[in-house]
Symmetry: C2
Subunit: 457 residues, 2 copies
């Protein structure tokens, strides 16, 4: 009855569910249908909730209201796969190589979803009366900043009531060492367009009389960092919290060395904002990054043109207690102020999400009101992971963003247990994404134990 997880994952990643690109509508439909059918097979009541963009899957395994309730989150959409020419095998045709399955979305987030579903299937097969209520929420807009999620939350928050959220959409340092993620960075992003002359100009005939929009854009953008690597936007760091002592101790348990990390990245030197080591910078530090810049002639050879406009896609990663809305406004205002008067600037497509932080049970800073069920979930997860992987998880913040985690905390009051199943070698958001088959297998075992334990079986 329960599908082989590798077979299920292969089917899932064959659906090209790129949420950023409207030409992939069919792929999104296919991925959503596949995930919904898996939940139906597990005995869930499945509802497809329409949103302004890509529908959300909402599913429920009911039961006695006195049973504890877990809300499992995932996303069926994936990142764009270009540049396609850098993939060693086609992005949406799964291939097994070197103990990994290669495909866009294999790790982010389809593999981890298949882990949960397979483990649940096995537990429910053996324990059809498992005293655990489970809700499922699988969205299709995670990779574009979940624009419909807040609207959905405010409308459906009563249906989402639970004791905790379970998510596997974070990373671990290696297939042997899992991480329970205690924090996520927030996000503040937008697109900047600088407009100059009303038409592209010949750089010989007219060069010298106008501000080149590329020059203005680069001037603005390069003003956004100081030479010490810190973001040069007034107020940017005002709300950044110091890092807890227990976080530094957990960080020291990381098995990766700095040299290994540098080699993995393939850079001659690290480049971090002053005050952060590389491992700290990617977890505890905020950033401002240029995700895409373009303007003028992009083709082969030369074209001596002054372009009419130029763009930059910018996103900031935020840490507690920065707020997405405030930082987005600060940066957008700074950019507007720094735009030379010889061109105009337009900022569109703002996107924001707050960072998230949870302190596990037993730390100096653990909140006094942590629910016993949630505290127990941490302990059971630790045991299940140690059982399947041979080492205790490390409790660490991670650099990625899942803005809906802080939304769930704000709106429904739920904290999340984030168990990381992908590794740095998985090439998330890059060509040749893959998911480690050893993790797939061991994690199914760990989650089988975890779900059983959580129900008190």
């Amino acid at each position: 009855m329960i599908k082989d997880p590798l077979e299920a994952l292969s089917e899932y990643v064959r659906c090209p569910s790129v949420s950023a690109d409207s030409t992939y509508a069919d792929g999104l439909d296919a991925a959503r249908s596949f995930a919904a059918s898996q939940l139906t097979a597990l005995g869930f009541d499945v509802e497809i909730v329409d949103t302004p963009k890509h529908p959300i899957i909402l599913a429920e395994r009911g039961g006695d209201p006195s049973w504890p309730c877990v809300l499992i989150y995932g996303h069926y959409d994936v990142q764009p796969a270009d540049p396609f020419e850098l993939w060693e095998s086609p992005a949406f045709e799964p291939r097994i190589r070197n103990g990994r399955i290669f495909a866009r979305g294999a790790a982010d987030n389809k593999g981890p979803q298949i882990v949960h579903m397979t483990a649940l299937g096995r537990v429910l097969e053996k324990h059809p009366d498992l005293p655990l209520r489970i809700k499922y929420l699988i969205e299709g807009e995670e990779e574009i900043g979940s624009p419909s999620f807040k609207g959905f939350l405010s409308k459906y928050k009563d249906r989402l009531d639970a004791d905790m959220v379970l998510v596997s959409d974070t990373g671990s340092p290696s297939p042997e060492q899992l991480v329970i993620t205690t924090g996520l960075r927030g996000l503040a992003g937008f697109e900047v367009k600088v407009k100059g002359p009303k038409s592209d100009l010949h750089s010989g005939v007219h060069g010298g009389s106008v501000m080149n929009p590329l020059q203005a854009l680069m001037q603005i953008c390069s003003s956004l960092h100081n030479p010490d690597g810190r973001v040069n936007v007034p107020g940017f760091y005002d709300d950044v919290l110091p890092v807890y002592q227990w976080e530094q101790e957990e960080l020291s348990r990381l098995p990766t060395t700095l040299n290994e990390y540098k080699e993995f990245l393939g850079v001659p030197h690290f480049h971090c904002a002053e005050g952060y080591t590389p491992f700290e910078a990617i977890r505890f530090g905020p950033t401002l990054e240029f995700n895409g810049v373009g303007g003028g002639y992009q083709g082969e050879g030369k074209k001596t043109v002054i372009p009419s406009e130029a763009f930059a896609k910018i996103s900031c990663r935020l840490v507690p207690n920065q707020r997405g809305k405030k930082i987005a406004e600060l940066v957008m205002q700074t950019i507007s102020e720094r735009c030379p008067s010889s061109v105009s600037v337009e900022i569109t497509d703002p996107e924001m999400g707050d960072p998230y932080l949870v302190v596990p049970p037993g730390r100096a800073n653990t909140p006094e009101d942590m629910s016993p069920f949630f505290a127990r979930a941490f302990e059971r997860a630790e045991l299940a992971i140690e059982g399947a992987f041979g080492t205790k998880p490390i409790y660490l913040r991670e650099g990625g963003s899942i803005p809906i985690i802080s939304d769930l905390k704000d709106v429904v009051g739920l904290d999340s247990l984030l168990i990381g199943l992908f590794t740095p070698e998985d090439n998330l958001h890059a060509p040749n994404e893959s998911f480690h088959l050893g993790i797939l297998e061991k994690a199914v075992g760990a989650f089988e134990l975890f779900f059983k334990d959580l129900a008190g079986h």
Copy 2:
């Protein structure tokens, strides 16, 4: 026997001869064949000279060695036509609208070539024994910096011996006011590539530890100008000559006002290097422009990636007595020096050409050794233009570059008479390029008179 010029031009621009893009090889072949067939029809001996890239047309109308000899230069290649979506009619399908013919290459440089050929055809029809030797040189690499031209020159310089060069590949301010171009800017261009991590990275998982190649590129590029608009490269201005008094006087004859020019450009304010007015800046001032910049995600929506690399296509326009090679080396060295150690930089595809300046007869700075034939050519051109257009030409430097003009001076010792036939409204190097039909008609008449006069008829 002589084709109607509009018909000939329509046929010529239908050949998509984009030299920068190797997918247009057929269009280049077609344009070259068309131009060669026109010259054959005029009675020229035509030779197609192979080069490492696109062949050169070399043609000759012989005669008594005592006859004067004019070398006419043109180029059969055109600029890329993208962005195609901004064209009101297809770029390579000529359309007549508002007294203009629209197509890529209509003005730069196919229209002016058809003017010369039509005028020559009419003169030779009436005067088959015209005592004037004519050589034709039409190349196919002008829009990519004429990389094969120097090699061609050193091999064929004896065949190119003549009394002067005639070129119509420069601009005039309006269809009523022609300009005889007395100077051209030189060019120093190249492509810069900044390389960071070996693969694109997730900006959440890894953001904070590495220098983003886009950030490094923009930091380098934005260091290349000072706030006063001048180029911030040590030594860049060392060899810039002051402007002659007669040039300022000619400039004051320009019929265009600054407001008209600003409106034409469609910018809120001009932006010129300190020390230059807009009309001076585009003729007498050197520039450094970004012709194309790109890196990271270029598609719809967002992709939170740190790209592995980023590029900038940069070109400088140079004025007398800057030298292309020296400036290219200065700028490339400056860029290398300013590259942060956390990324690497690669500079490729260098291209250079020297600026050109000729002082017409009768000025304080006219060289004493100017040949009587060349001095007479200036006077006859002035008369022919005044006859056809009703006003004397203005003698002005222009901002564009035809590096081969200074090469011809250096290698063959020939000065050029540059009669500008396109106008600012022609949208050179931009979408919706066109050529003015009134200029086409009047210029054919002017050149008919000019060729006849030049031969002393």
